[in-house]
Symmetry: C2
Subunit: 158 residues, 2 copies
Amino acid sequence: MKLPETSEWVLHTAAVIAQLPPGATVSGAQLSEHFGVPGPYLSKQLAKLVRAGVLIGSTGPRGGFRLARAPEHVSILDLVAAVDGAGDPYVCRELRQRGRGAARPEDCTTPCALASVMREAHEAWRASLAAVTLADIVAGLPDSVLEKNRRLLLAATG
Amino acid sequence: MKLPETSEWVLHTAAVIAQLPPGATVSGAQLSEHFGVPGPYLSKQLAKLVRAGVLIGSTGPRGGFRLARAPEHVSILDLVAAVDGAGDPYVCRELRQRGRGAARPEDCTTPCALASVMREAHEAWRASLAAVTLADIVAGLPDSVLEKNRRLLLAATG
DNA sequence: GGCGTTATACTCGGATACCACGTGTCCGAGTACCCCCGG
DNA sequence: CCGGGGGTACTCGGACACGTGGTATCCGAGTATAACGCC
C-alpha cells in the first residue's frame, strides 16, 4: 500500500495556495518553481483538484489556481481523495464463494467479516484525515515561514 | 492507494488455517484448490507469513503450514503487514526544504505538519486492524461454514 | 519379527518473465490582458 | 481624451512515452515417509 508521491506535492501546494490573499491566484509554473518539482506533472495533479471542486483554475494572463472555498472547509482527506481516488484499498472479491470450498450463497447473507474489518480500518483512516483542515496546517506553521511565503507570493502576483 | 489482491488471499487462507486441529498442517496446493487461486503464487505469499513469524512451514510429505501461535494472538494487522510491508503509505521527502521557496533548516526543527497528520491517520488504521484477531474472525463464521471447512480439512489431512 | 538403509514422492523457497499503474513529458485549445488605432 | 478591435502572451487541460512494482509461473533444495532387504 503506497500513496502516490504527488500526494505530498498536492498537500504542500494546497497549503501555499491557502496562504494567498482572497481573490489572488498562483500559476502551476510558479508553484513548481517554489517546490522544485516538474511543472507539467504538477499541473496535471492540480487539475484533479479542480475536477474535485477543491480548487478553481483560471486561464489566461494573471490566471492560475485558487481555493474554491475557505481553508477551514478543505480537509486533508479532500486533497488526498482527489489525487488518489476515494476507493477502499481492500476490495472484497468474495473469495469465500470461489474454489472447491466455496460457501453456498445462503451462507453469505452477511457481509464478509474480513471485508468489514478492512472497511472499518479505512473509515478510521478517513476520519483521521477529515478532522484536519488546511486552516489548521497554516495555523501551525512558524511565523518566519508564513512571512517568507507571503513575500514570495506577493512578488509573484505582483 | 491500493492493497495487493493477495492480501485477501492471505486473510482468508489464515482464517482457514486457524480452524485446523492443533498440530495439523495444510499444504499450499490444498489451499489453492480450496479458494481457486494460483498455487505457486499463493505459496509465495505464505512464505512471507513464515518469514514474519506468523506461520510455520514444514516440508516433506504430510507437511504444510500451521499457525506459529494461538489464533487469539494473530491480529489482522500482522497478516496485512507481512504481505504488504509495514511502511507508511505516505513518505515525507521534506518538500519544504526544496525549490526556490525552501525553508531554512532552522525553521524545520519540528516535523512536517502534513507528515504528522498522515502518520497519525496511518496509526489509526493500524490500531483498527490490530484490534481484531483471527480468533474473532473464526468466532463470527456461521456454524455451517465451520462444519464444512472441518469436513474438508479432515478429508485433506486424513 | 525388528531394524537399518535406500529410494521416493511430496513439501516449501527463491529465481525468472509479463503486465498495469504511476511517473514524466509534450503540445494544443482557450482566454484575459495590453497595445494600437480611429473617432 | 475615450472607446473598440486585434494581436499577443500566458494559462490550463488532455494526449503521448518510460520505469518500477505487483502478478503469475517455473524449477530446484530439502525432508519425512514408506517400502525393501538384511539380521
